[in-house]
Symmetry: C2
Subunit: 511 residues, 2 copies
């Protein structure tokens, strides 16, 4: 067996009695001191599988019990072709693969990818492989929504009757196709942020009872946990799912945390009210909204911040689906320089109603190639970016100034602020900070990346440490050009800029 | 004498004893039942002037008293060349000239226009005359600020000594030049929004005592009130002028209201804390900040809303001075469709440090011709625009829904909102309204103007009254094109749009 690649034990027998989702088949895999308890699953047609993900090299031993019993062992070796890096794990506010490689995902969104025709699914997968995107947000259950009104050929479970599904009867063809996608994308280095529940539904998947969702989750973990490129997203817009209460989310989260042997990335995405990302098992923040909040979430949760939904390039009537390509690229840059990770989406009207964000197909927009350009720059950096705080008085400092705790010369502006209530002053400071900020990130003293956004200034400056020398480049994020404007420089460096929107400046320490 | 044009009585004598700003010369002008009390002023070189603005046609009689005595009469006739329309006056939330002509000003900003060389002043005036701008914000006192560091040749008053000015000794050359500007621009239909005080000062004008500012205001009113194109702006950013207290502003406002015989437009401009525009003598709101607040100010004050400062096209390092031309044009459109009146400014770096917003000169930007295009569209409208409310739930309606007072089918979204506190919900609603809004204004049922802003939607619709038929045009605000897409239509009209930023749709009732 190869490290980071799934390993399977296959058994054949009669079809199971009772539930086909939860069966009496388990295994313990041991590698040195590490022991993993695994569920087996029924794959249909008399086939039973125990699927294991080896995370370490060395001798792996197993013992299967239940419907089948078996023991065995095999050496796990490193594949060394560089394709697989293991699971993604949080590392402070950044991400690394298990093999230590940095992970800086550039996501896209195809919610109902797996509920389309075979041909369309294949086309979508090919498109992702050729795109800059190495993470895709997609749903287990089909989506019922504008531009998503087609009935899928098959679902994760078989229909019980007119009124519902039998969550003890997986639809094997669906799971097989899903796994083919996971494998293909995994082999191409693409992470799959798997959305387990969502509200845009008319089949009843958003109203499953605990007795229904637990077998689903059991089967899901048994089959998918051995794919190293899977992330668990409890839901898309969990806070719009009326039938699921706080105790359901706790139960679902707890069940996954307890039964995922490997600790895949785990979060829950909101519409208005973010999930409590401080919970121990939640690995990262999965955010909808303003990308400039990256810093706020980092400070609050000390976890990686994935801006998973901040509007899509397109031309549909919905406000979230008719951003210009520039606006989407602009948001990506703000997100990335602050050390967040962005997720793209595309919603162009289509004769056949195939909108990328819903069904996949091909990409039509002008943002992906600019995101590829950004990705190239981010990947060259010597580490993960962390935000440089805004260069403007904070509400906290102003209050300290009010109390005489912070000594700094008052300006007309701070005097005017001090005439307002702390709440009013904070609101004003927030607005001006947003208007004035040049979003800047740094990798320690090794690199600084400043994004000027919509500021058309013709002059700029950076304050660089004096114990290094730096090479400075001016970047045009739309035209995708990079121009070196200085080398061997440090300290306060002033430079001219093109005086247009979408300009960034990168300073990298030499040597 | 001609209606709406200044009329002067000139006297000659010795120079005044004591103050040259406040002299013993006054007049009463009577036209039918209307009586106006006027101050005369000393114009230097032994010349004394009593200056009157006739607002009505008919026989005008006068009686001069004080240093000189005189009586006389003359018929005031209409000039009929169409140049002068009288003072601008508020009319609800819109503006009209005294002769009934609608006033829809498109402003620009040249703060220190009159503190430059004669040649530069002449160039600035020529530029304004050729521009779309028919209102200019400019200061009586020079400006000390970045890009404004030159010492003027002369000031409104003569220097007393090294330490200050003698506010009883006007500098006649300064006032003469100022009047030449007022006259020239007035003859070209340009209103002058005259800023009486401002904080950006190192000469002491921002720290004048009451004993200093009252003679200044007396002299100002005596000389300038007879120019029909003058507006009084008590200050630029009054709230940054530490030395002026609330009672100073009340005194200044009261003095002007009492001693301006004609009732010129009167407001006071802020940085952070708006002036109390509800005060009786304040004719309009003069706002700094987000143009989308037009509606809020209209609702609160029921007065015309002039968005006098919302950033400038340019490339200087200050955030308010490096907007792209598109952004400035975009803000103008939002402001205008809501029925507000916008003010332009330009801050491009210049070899000679001549930035339009400070010193004037020539215009370099790409926004003025687009503002001219907008002005043409606005001027064709059959009346003043009023805002069409945003098509989104309001915080008030949500609270009624919470209390069961507002019956409407709840959506996932309203259910999610109702789980938040009223304050949180209001904040969310404000954000989404801002993101989703298609800014739309209407002139009764005669015309609708919808501006799609940064929304790149490929489809749009309007709900038009059914008792008229309409002609619909699609407007590209940047390319300055207009295309008729439908005629003879009404009711719910759907149409395709170019799917790019900066698109507006105009529907005008036929016949």
């Amino acid at each position: 067996m190869f490290q980071y690649e799934k390993f399977e034990l296959i058994f054949h027998g009669e079809e199971p009695q009772g539930s086909w989702s939860v069966i009496d088949l388990q295994a313990v895999f041991t590698c040195e001191e590490t022991e993993k308890k695994i569920f087996g699953f029924y794959a249909g047609n008399g086939t039973y599988i125990v699927r294991y993900l080896p995370q370490h090299t060395g001798l792996v031993q197993w013992e299967v019990s239940g419907l089948f019993t078996a023991r065995g062992q095999e050496e796990c070796v490193s594949c060394q072709d560089g394709t697989h890096h293991g699971l993604v794990k949080p590392s402070g506010t950044s991400l690394t693969y298990e093999d230590g490689t940095m992970c800086r995902p550039f996501g896209t969104t195809v919610y109902a990818m797996m509920h389309q025709s075979k041909e369309l699914i294949a086309q979508t997968i090919e498109t992702i492989k050729k795109s800059p995107f190495d993470k895709v947000r997609t749903c287990m259950f089909p989506k019922h929504y504008i531009f998503n009104e087609n009935e899928p050929e098959r679902f994760a479970f078989e229909k019980k009757d007119e009124r519902g599904f039998d969550f003890h009867r997986p639809c094997f063809a669906f799971w097989d196709a899903f796994e083919e996608m996971l494998q293909t994308l995994g082999d191409s280095g693409v992470e799959v942020d798997l959305i387990l529940f969502h509200p845009y539904d008319w089949w009843g998947f958003s109203r499953m009872t605990r007795a229904e969702y637990l077998p689903y989750l059991h089967y899901l973990l048994a089959r998918f946990a051995a794919y190293s490129n899977v992330w668990w997203s409890l839901a898309n817009e969990y806070d719009c799912m009326e039938a699921f209460k706080a105790e359901d989310w706790e139960c679902i989260e707890g069940f996954i945390a307890e039964n995922d042997p490997y600790g895949h990335m785990l979060s829950c995405h909101h519409m208005l009210q973010n999930y409590d990302f401080s919970r121990t098992d939640i690995t990262h923040c999965s955010i909808q909204g303003d990308v400039t909040n990256v810093e706020k979430y980092m400070e609050r949760y000390h976890k990686p911040v994935l801006m998973d939904e901040f509007g899509y390039e397109g031309n549909i009537f919905c406000h979230w689906g008719h951003l210009s390509a520039f606006e989407l690229v602009h948001r990506f840059w703000m997100c990335c320089v602050l050390g967040g990770y962005g997720t793209h989406g595309e919603t162009f009207m289509d004769d056949k109603d195939i909108l990328w964000w819903g069904k996949g197909g091909t990409l039509k927009g002008e943002s992906p190639e600019r995101i590829a350009f950004l990705k190239e720059i981010i990947r060259e950096l010597p580490g993960a970016l962390e935000p440089v705080p805004a260069d403007f008085i904070t509400a906290e400092k102003l209050e300290d100034m009010r109390k005489g705790l912070y000594q700094e010369e008052q300006t007309d502006f701070t005097r005017a602020l001090l005439q307002r209530t702390p709440e009013e002053a904070a609101h004003i400071i927030e607005g001006i900070t947003r208007d004035t900020r040049i979003y800047t990130g740094h990798c320690g003293e090794k690199a600084y990346l400043a994004y000027y956004g919509r500021h058309c200034t013709a002059v700029g400056d950076l304050e660089l440490p004096k114990n290094h020398t730096y090479c400075i480049e001016v970047i045009d994020v739309w035209e995708m050009t990079r121009k070196t404007i200085a080398t061997g420089t440090c300290g306060k460096v002033e430079f001219t800029l093109p005086g247009k929107e979408g300009i960034a400046v990168l300073a990298v320490a030499e040597n």
